[in-house]
C-alpha cells in the first residue's frame, strides 16, 4: 500500500510551520513599524484652515515673534491660538473687507471664535505642557520644525512616545538660551547644552507619570 502522504508533504509541513511562525512574528512587527511611519502619525500632512493664514508672511515677512500670537506658551500648558481681535489692528480696513479675511471679519463682528483645525494633537491620555519646555530652553523649532517656512502648518514631529522619551532621556543637546526660544534656524552649539542644562536646572524625566497622569 502506498503511503497516505507522499514524501513531499514533509517539506510542505515544514514550510507551513515556518510560514505560520513568520506571520505570527511578522504581522505585529509590520504593524508596529507602520504606526511609526508618517502615514500613521499624520506627520508632514498640511491641514487646510478656514482662513489661508500663512506663517511665512507673518513670521519671515513681518518678523512677528511667535509669542505675539501664541502668547500663553510661556505661562500655560497651552500655546493657544490667537483670538481674531489680535489680527485686526495690523489688517487695515481695506484688507479686512477682502474675501480672504471674511471669516475673521465675521468672527470679530459676531464675537464667535473662528474654528481653526487642529494640527498637532496628542491622545487624551498624554499630559503635555508648553510652559515647562519653553521656560527650560526647548525651542518651538525642536518640536514644530521650521514654521516660518510653512504655507500651511503641518505636524513636523512624529509625536510618538519614543520621540518624547528620546529627548527626555538626554535633553541637554536640544537646549538653547531662553533668548532664542522662538528663533527659527537656530544652530545648536555642542558645548552650550550641558551648561544650559545646569543653568536652567533641567532634569531627565522618564517616569511614566510625567506624561501619563
Amino acid at each position: 500500500m502506498p503511503a497516505l502522504f507522499p514524501h513531499w508533504t514533509n517539506t510542505l509541513a515544514r514550510a507551513t510551520l515556518i510560514a505560520v511562525l513568520c506571520t505570527l512574528v511578522g504581522v505585529p512587527v509590520a504593524l508596529m513599524a507602520w504606526v511609526r511611519t508618517p502615514n500613521a502619525t499624520r506627520q508632514y500632512e498640511p491641514v487646510a484652515q478656514p482662513v489661508a493664514f500663512d506663517h511665512r508672511i507673518h513670521v519671515t515677512g513681518q518678523r512677528i515673534d511667535c509669542r505675539y500670537c501664541h502668547y500663553s506658551a510661556e505661562r500655560s500648558s497651552y500655546a493657544g491660538i490667537p483670538p481674531t481681535s489680535v489680527c485686526v489692528p495690523c489688517h487695515s480696513t481695506a484688507w479686512m473687507s477682502s474675501d480672504v479675511l471674511a471669516p475673521v471679519r465675521q468672527s470679530v463682528s459676531s464675537g464667535r471664535p473662528l474654528r481653526w483645525n487642529r494640527v498637532d494633537a496628542l491622545p487624551g491620555f498624554v499630559y503635555f505642557n508648553h510652559a515647562i519646555h519653553v521656560n527650560k530652553g526647548v525651542g518651538c523649532e525642536s518640536c514644530h520644525g521650521r514654521v516660518d517656512r510653512m504655507a500651511q502648518v503641518y505636524q513636523a514631529a512624529p509625536l510618538t512616545m519614543s520621540w518624547c522619551v528620546n529627548c527626555h532621556r538626554n535633553p541637554a543637546p536640544h537646549l538653547r538660551p531662553l533668548s532664542a526660544i522662538t528663533t527659527m534656524g537656530y544652530v545648536s552649539q555642542r558645548e552650550l547644552g550641558p551648561q544650559l542644562a545646569q543653568k536652567y536646572h533641567v532634569r531627565s524625566l522618564t517616569t511614566c507619570t510625567t506624561c501619563h497622569r
Binding site: G61, Q62, R63, D65, R67, Y68, Y71, S85, V88, C90
Partner: protein
Amino acid sequence: MNRACVLVVIIVAAACTKSSEREPGDFERMRIQQRDEPYAASGRLAIDERMRHPPAGTMSRESEADSGAIGSGTSAGQPVTQVPLAVTPELLALGHEKFDVFCAVCHGAGGFGGSIVAANMGAPRPPSLRSAAVQALPPGFVFNIATKGIGRMPPYAPQLTARERWAVVAYLEQLQRSTSTSAEQREDSVRAIGIRGIDSTLAAEQQR
C-alpha cells in the same frame, strides 16, 4: 449559572460606548476622552466655547482695580510719574524681552516706529516712541496705553501682566534715554537685530 451569565453581560456592557464617541478606525485606545479641552467647541452651550468668560460685572482678585498704583497706573486720578516697582536689572531684562515681542512688532525694536509691519499698516501708522512728545508722557500714562490701547493700538492687558507692562514701561524709559547705537549693542536676538537694522536706517533718514 444564569446569574453568572447576567453578571458577565453586565460587566462587558459596562465597557461599551456610543459609536459616535469612538475615533473611526481606532480600537478604542482612549485617545479621545470625555473631557473638555481648552479652546474646544462646546456643541451644547449658546456660546460655542468650552472656556467660560467671567460673568458680566465681575473681576478677578488679581485684577487692576483694587491693586492701587501698580494695577491702575494712576494715583488720585493722575497718572503716576514714576514706575511704582523697583527698577532692577531683572525688571529691565523682562521689559526688554516683552518689548521686543509685543511692541517692536509695530514700533520697531529701537522704538523709532520703523518696523516692517508699520510700513505695511497704512495710516494711522504706529508713531515713534523716541519723539519728544512721547518722552514727555508720564510712565503711568504709557502704562495705561499698554493696558487699554489707544486709537488703533489694541490693549495688551490679556498678553501682559501688570508687572510685565511696568517692565516694558521701565525698559522704554531706558531706551528713550539711550542712543540708538548702544541699544543695538545690547541686542542679542537675531530677529530683533533685523528689526533694529531697519529701524536705524529710518532714524538716519529722519536725521537727514
